[in-house]
């Protein structure tokens, strides 16, 4: 061995010794005896229970001065009621939070309780037995009201966190926010004298949608000089109505297509919604529009921000998205163009039906580290925030701080229990309160939630003032047009609901979902005409050959196993 080699060996040895020394640094045993507590669903602990958490934060939580994620009205309320001290192991935003979770998993030191955003990470935690089974603590500690909330989803919500019959996480709820709304410039409709939706059910046929887009394109009522008829983001489709901003999900409704969802076709076989003949028909319609110039000639390169700019510049008069886009997107349009008014429509098929799919009922999860002394604390916090605080008869007297947080709009991520748990019907229930109060059928005191109360005040201000604030206008438009549309569709039974049969991940999906998803980019080519419509059939054949067929079989198998 050369001298040089010997030196390298020495250096290597030194590194090893250093590493051994480091790993010797004590790792204290975190598994302690459970802390005893009072009986009941919100029993306070006899000694202070420390709960170290991973917290997903938001850029603009709007804390009053001095408050932080670790020490705010909500964490103090938890201390007060449950004698639990919340300590934050880590805090981070969005993607950075996921990275911190990965680092925590890698270093083998999960916090006692934490929020998990994606199903994939939850799968990993469960597979590696890193999280506590919560089946029993949920049964024993969840209050009746909380159980009612979860039951309103008919098991669909808890199922998303259930593995082999055991509940491994507390899932957040996600109610159906269908349909994808088409917000159309009402002032432009009036200006051009266009007559659409004569039965006033706010459902447009494909022909009517086309007519509006064509008129806006030809007459340029915004006076921009460079109008665009319809504009969509390049990824075209979304698997949830909440994420349907600038997508074609309203158009697919007319063709009974359900892109990105696993459904049963007419023969009862499991099929992927993006490869059905209905999807081909939808793309055919879009390609026709593109050919006629009704669909944005720059489709494919126009990004989300570009489309927002089109709307703000009066070039585009139709915006697709979830019902709440006036609150955070169209408010910019109103700010620049005080004359702008929006009416909410959706698109129906030839029989006047609006074809929509149920959303994935779970949205985010709270998990407890395997071996934590008091796993029931997570359910106690659930009770505290979604039963006690919500149904508190006199929150303002007993917990003025918490009440102030709600009225000042401090972000919900300030709560240590970081998912939302709302009843399946809460969207329309809250709207019924708002509408009832505005019509003076019920008093302000009877309005159930603090948020609804502030919306009633906003809308009253909007009606009273000659030059209303943009924010009040936004609340008015999103509720009295947006949710009003959902309510009327529900009341008139115009919704035709489809239930996606499978939400999980199969073996082949893990391997090939990225490449299969990539293949869907062919849609842009089909719409712009660079690939003929029949290219769709080649895409379907390819898709099936490269794993799609296998996934369908796996899902059939999984579903058969459930029964």
């Amino acid at each position: 061995m050369s001298v040089f080699g010997a030196r390298w060996c020495l250096a290597g040895l030194a590194v090893c010794v250093m590493a051994a020394g480091l790993s010797g640094c004590g790792k204290e045993d975190k598994n302690q005896e459970p802390v005893m507590a009072e009986e009941g669903t919100m029993g306070s602990y006899h000694q202070v229970l420390e709960c170290a958490m991973g917290r997903r934060t938001l850029a603009n939580p709007k804390f009053p001065d001095g408050d932080t994620y670790e020490d705010n009205a909500y964490t103090r309320y938890v201390m007060d009621k449950l004698n639990v001290r919340i300590l934050d192991d880590f805090e981070a935003n969005g993607e950075d939070y996921d990275r911190q979770v990965s680092l925590a998993i890698a270093s083998g030191e999960l916090p006692d309780a934490l929020f998990i955003g994606s199903k994939d990470i939850l799968d990993e935690l469960v597979e590696n037995e890193l999280v506590e089974d919560l089946t029993d603590v949920y049964e024993d500690y969840a209050s009746d009201y909380i159980k009612e909330i979860y039951d309103s989803y008919g098991g669909r919500c808890l199922d998303t966190a259930t593995y082999d019959g055991r509940l491994m996480a507390i899932p957040g709820t996600n109610l159906d926010s269908a349909p994808c709304v088409a917000y159309v410039r009402q002032d432009w409709l009036e200006k051009t004298g266009l007559l659409v939706d004569e039965d006033n059910d706010h459902c447009l046929t494909i022909e009517e949608l086309e007519q509006i887009a064509r008129t806006f394109l030809e007459q340029d009522p915004g006076g921009s000089g460079n109008p665009v008829g319809l504009a969509f983001v390049p990824y075209l489709t979304a698997d949830d109505y909440g994420g349907s901003g600038y997508t074609i999900n309203a158009v697919t409704s007319a063709f009974r297509a359900f892109p990105k969802l696993w459904i049963r076709d007419k023969s009862g076989a499991v099929v992927y919604g993006s490869v059905t003949p209905e999807m081909k028909e939808t793309l055919g319609q879009l390609a026709k529009w593109f050919g006629e110039g009704i669909l944005d000639p720059q489709f494919g390169t126009r990004t989300w921000d570009d489309i927002t700019a089109l709307l703000t510049n009066n070039q585009l008069g139709i915006a697709f998205g979830p019902w709440h886009i006036p609150d955070w997107l169209l408010n910019n349009v109103k700010g620049m163009n005080p004359e702008a008014e929006f009416a909410a429509f959706t698109v129906c098929d030839q029989d006047g039906r609006v074809n929509v799919a149920h959303s994935n009922a779970g949205n985010g999860y709270m998990v407890v580290r395997k071996g934590y002394s008091n796993p029931e604390v997570i359910v106690k916090m659930l009770n505290l925030f979604f039963d006690d605080v919500v149904n508190h008869p006199d929150l303002e007297q007993e917990a003025p701080e918490v009440a102030a947080y709600i009225s000042q709009g401090v972000d919900n991520s300030a709560r240590p229990f970081q998912v939302e748990v709302n009843a399946y019907t809460s969207l329309l229930d809250d709207y019924a309160d708002i509408k009832g109060c505005l019509n003076e059928e019920i008093t302000m005191e009877q309005v159930r939630t603090a948020e609804s109360k502030s919306i009633v005040e906003s809308i009253r201000r909007y009606w009273a003032e000659t030059e209303p604030e943009v924010n009040d206008w936004a609340k008015y438009t999103s509720r009295m047009c947006g949710i009003e549309l959902i309510e009327s569709l529900t009341k008139n039974e115009q919704f035709q609901w489809e239930s996606p049969v499978f939400r999980g991940t199969t073996k082949t999906m893990k391997k090939s979902s990225a490449s299969l998803g990539k293949m869907e980019e062919v849609f842009v080519g089909i719409v712009t005409g660079s690939i003929p419509l029949d290219g769709f059939d080649d895409f379907v054949a390819d898709w099936k050959a490269q794993g799609g067929e296998k996934i369908m079989a796996e899902i059939e198998e999984a579903l058969a196993g459930e029964q």
Partner: protein, 298 residues
């Protein structure tokens, strides 16, 4: 005539070169002017993408909002401290390491081992997670030292300074030694004064690198209140589109919208760039000579 013609050609050549340089300069300058204009525009005008180089609907609202943001100033302070501490540590360690390495193998036995280690460490790093574990086990998480110490010896700079030291005439050192100077005195009285350009250069690298780095903060700081400025700014620029698609609730969308307006983002960029813009001209005159001369060997 010929001479005159040649003169025209030469002028033409110079003109073309100037043209290209001006064009390149504009490419660098115009986006900054655009950001400056956006930062002084109304948020709706910024969202409409209609701001060029002149603010539309002039307002200083974005700057007022930054002034109110306590975390911004806290992070600003952390960044300033980090840059100061990082600069001192970097300069001391680089110079102390580069000086012995600039000696020949005969004067400094084992030089090649150290060089080998340095080059090896420069080419191969431990990777994110092992580095994180080391920092974590040293209990450095959430301290400013987690940002400074892992990058305490930038090897590229060591090599640059080493090369520069090698270029300093030997006779200077010999003269000092004859006058009775100790090795430390030789370094501080002879080498360092002779090497101002390269030291200014690595100082600039250190300042810019420490000021602009945001990733270290994301990994090693587990609380927002410990974030350095660039990390904090990075977390503030939320893409509403991504948030919507990942199932963000309505209230969080509204709260995020309030800070994600493009004019506010632009204002944050402007404020965070100003300190560097002020330091750069002070050191810039050394910069070019520092890099070029460093590559000349005696």
């Amino acid at each position: 005539m010929m001479i005159r013609k040649k003169g025209i050609m030469a002028n033409l050549g110079t003109g073309v070169i100037y043209g290209i340089v001006i064009l390149l300069g504009l490419i660098c300058l115009l986006p900054m002017l655009n950001i400056l204009a956006i930062s002084f525009s109304g948020s709706d005008a910024a969202a409409a993408n209609i701001v060029g180089f002149v603010p539309v609907k002039f307002t200083t609202a974005a700057y007022e909002k930054i002034m109110e943001d306590r975390q911004f100033w806290r992070s600003f302070g952390i960044s300033v401290f980090r840059v100061g501490a990082g600069l001192v540590i970097n300069l001391v360690l680089i110079v102390l390491m580069a000086y012995p390495l600039s000696k020949t193998k005969r004067e400094f036995k084992g030089r090649s081992v150290y060089m080998g280690l340095l080059i090896f460490a420069m080419l191969f790093s431990g990777g994110m997670i092992p580095t994180y574990l080391v920092v974590k086990n040293l209990h450095l998480l959430n301290t400013v030292w987690a940002l400074v110490l892992p990058g305490a010896v930038p090897i590229f700079s060591v090599i640059m300074v080493m090369n520069f030291f090698m270029g300093v005439p030997k006779s200077l050192e010999e003269a000092a030694v004859i006058d009775g100077a100790t090795p430390l005195q030789v370094l501080t009285r002879v080498y360092i004064p002779c090497s101002k350009p390269v030291i200014a250069t690595i100082a600039l690298f250190s300042i810019v690198g420490n000021w602009n780095d945001f990733f270290g903060g994301l990994i090693y700081m587990t609380k927002v209140r410990n974030y350095p400025l660039q990390t904090y700014i990075q977390t503030l620029s939320v893409k509403l589109e991504d948030m919507l698609n990942s199932g963000g609730s309505l209230s969080s969308l509204i709260n995020a919208m309030e800070v994600s307006s493009q004019n506010l983002n632009a204002a944050k960029i402007v404020v965070s760039v100003v300190p560097l813009l002020m330091i750069y001209p002070l050191l810039q005159r050394y910069l070019i000579t520092g890099i070029v001369v460093g590559s000349v060997k005696e």
